[in-house]
């Protein structure tokens, strides 16, 4: 079965190899079509097209300022919070096929269905429990039993439960940086998102905390569709099934991670992953 192979062909050379075919055969959670983005008059994304495979980790790599975070933040309309930003193209969210970035779509639609973890841990100035329960409270969940259950389940999935179960009502700021980031992951998981956006989730963490989070992403990939921005190519290679290489606001190469890292089609990708620039 082919899911909009044309869209894919626009970013990758027409000489599609087995990798591209593989990417299109997995069912899709979303399809990015000709996505462009402007900060005021400055265009930072240029007609990006790629599929987001369901139930897989897709990694976005590239040098600083290449637009990968900007790209990620289009998915939950974070750019709407600031004046003067403009989107072009479409991001189709499956299964209904709604266009996330259409001005007719309320930004709350994607935000209620898509979770996000930011680069810097950003817990609310509230207790650990209230942080995880936040998304449910926002959705109007009142039942104590439901809240308790979902808070525990999310903290367990974020591999934080054992460390915090005795102090759920302590301030989130009493946690270490790595714990805070796992708390933010738990907070994003609690409302059961269909898609999880991770914006360099380990860049502010030490190697041990990073390893924790990477393991966690691996476990979560069994259950969630994950889109992760990372600076760290080894990390992308370790945790993702598909990889998109960004450069100056364009997707230079997209394909299964293994192929992108071992047999890149583009020389620029080759240069980046071997550390010749970036």
């Amino acid at each position: 079965m082919m899911f909009g192979a044309n869209a894919l062909a626009e970013t990758t050379p027409p000489a599609a190899d087995t990798g591209t075919a593989q990417a299109t055969e997995v069912p899709r959670k979303a399809t990015v079509e000709e996505l462009s983005f402007w900060y005021g008059h400055k265009q930072v994304l240029f007609a990006i097209s790629m599929p987001i495979a369901e139930g897989c980790v897709t990694a976005l790599i590239g040098p600083s300022g290449c637009g990968k975070s900007t790209f990620l933040r289009c998915f939950n309309r974070m750019h709407d919070l600031y004046p003067g930003n403009r989107y072009g193209g479409r991001i189709i969210l499956e299964p209904e096929g709604i266009d996330i970035i259409s001005s007719r779509t309320d930004p709350m639609v994607p935000r209620l269905r898509i979770g996000m973890v930011f680069q810097k841990p950003n817990p609310f100035p509230k207790s650990i429990y209230e942080n995880v329960a936040a998304g449910l409270r926002i959705r109007g969940v009142r039942s104590r039993a439901v809240l308790d259950g979902q808070v525990e389940k999310s903290l367990r999935r974020a591999a934080l439960w054992e460390e915090v179960k005795d102090r759920l009502h302590a301030s989130a700021y009493t946690l270490s940086g790595g714990q805070q980031q796992r708390l933010c992951i738990a907070r994003a998981l609690a409302p059961e998102p269909e898609l999880l956006l991770l914006d360099e989730p380990t860049s502010a963490l030490d190697p041990i905390a990073t390893a924790h989070i990477e393991e966690l992403i691996d476990e979560l990939s069994a259950r969630y569709t994950i889109l992760v921005v990372t600076h760290n190519m080894q990390q992308a290679a370790r945790i993702s099934r598909f990889t998109a290489f960004f450069h100056l606001g364009r997707v230079i190469e997209f394909g299964p991670t293994e192929q992108v890292f071992t047999r890149p089609r583009e020389s620029m990708t080759q240069d980046y992953i071997t550390g010749r620039f970036g």
Binding site: R111, F118, I138
Partner: protein, 306 residues
């Protein structure tokens, strides 16, 4: 050729230490001087006034004889006026600050409002008194009442609360807003669940500053026609018949502690000057009690915030 940069480490450190020591010493002296002056003033007031404070002083009406004069209408008046001021200025100030900081679109209208509010904070209080006299007393015919006094003081301190609210909201990291919106919160949820609680300490500080300024104001209240000699109390806010609450006191003439003090200090007899000091102590205690309450609330809400 690159020249080797040679630094005498010991000399460099010694210089840094001397400089720090000098500044710390200077700071200590200045701090001591300022505190000493303030303490002297307060101590003088307390020493002069405190012996006169007793039950009679708090429960008597003013009198021509210093030994029988009291401040009952004054402290009741001050309390009621502050109640009206707080009830008007706090919600309106917070709402205005919230709107300007979180809701208002960037436009020239917003800019004009902003410049006006900042300038209003610097307008002399007597100007507010004239405005209230013209608008509230003469135009709206609200009379020389507690309501008008509360309204004029609320106007006077509104900019302080608005500015404090905006500063408090602005100091909340943008990540908090992003986190809330990313979780699917709408604007009001973001504001009420995350921004206002985080801004509460800053807003409370602004409220303390505002009410402390209002409680000491004399000029605008004299301008609107507060009485300087009063021998009755406003109607009680609590009544014996349903609905048990009465707002008739809003329409009552009044006096306040600073006016009573002003009145007594302008008399020739020294005994009245001492009474003025005693009234000053009561005013100080009321201000401190108000601040204490705000600090307590701030402390309680701060426990979860780092």
């Amino acid at each position: 050729m690159a020249e080797m940069l040679v630094i005498d480490t010991h000399q460099r450190i010694a210089k840094a230490r001397r400089r720090d020591l000098l500044f710390a010493g200077l700071g200590l002296v200045v701090l001591f001087l300022a505190t000493a002056v303030l303490l002297t003033l307060i101590l003088d007031l307390v020493v002069t006034g405190a012996p006169h404070i007793d039950w009679d002083f708090l429960t008597n009406y003013p009198s021509r004889r210093a030994s029988r004069a009291g401040i009952l209408p004054a402290w009741v008046g001050t309390s009621l006026v502050m109640l009206v001021t707080a009830a008007l200025a706090i919600p309106i100030g917070i709402a205005a600050g919230l709107y300007l900081e979180e809701y208002a679109p960037r436009s020239w209208v917003t800019d004009v409002i902003e410049i006006n509010i900042t300038n209003l904070a610097g307008v002399p209080s007597i100007i507010y008194g004239l405005l209230a006299l013209g608008v509230f007393v003469y135009l709206f015919r609200l009379g020389e009442t507690i309501l008008v006094a509360g309204m004029v003081l609320a106007l006077l301190v509104l900019p302080v609360i608005i500015v404090a609210t905006r500063e408090a909201l602005r100091s909340i990291p943008q990540e908090v807003r992003e986190a809330a919106f990313a979780l699917g919160a709408d604007k009001w949820q973001t504001v009420s669940m995350y921004l206002l609680p985080a801004a509460r300490p800053g807003i409370l500080t602004g409220i303390i500053a505002a009410l402390a300024r209002a409680i000491g104001e004399t000029a605008p209240l004299i301008t609107i026609g507060a009485l300087t000699f009063i021998a009755f109390l406003p109607p009680s806010p609590i009544t014996s018949e349903p609905p048990f609450l009465s707002f008739d006191w809003l329409w009552s003439p009044f006096t306040v502690l600073p006016i009573q003090m002003f009145n007594w200090t302008s008399r020739p007899q020294a005994a009245f000057h001492e009474l003025a000091a005693a009234a000053g102590v009561v005013l100080l205690v009321m201000t401190l009690a108000m601040n204490g309450l705000a600090i307590y609330i701030r402390y309680r809400t701060r426990r979860l915030m780092r």
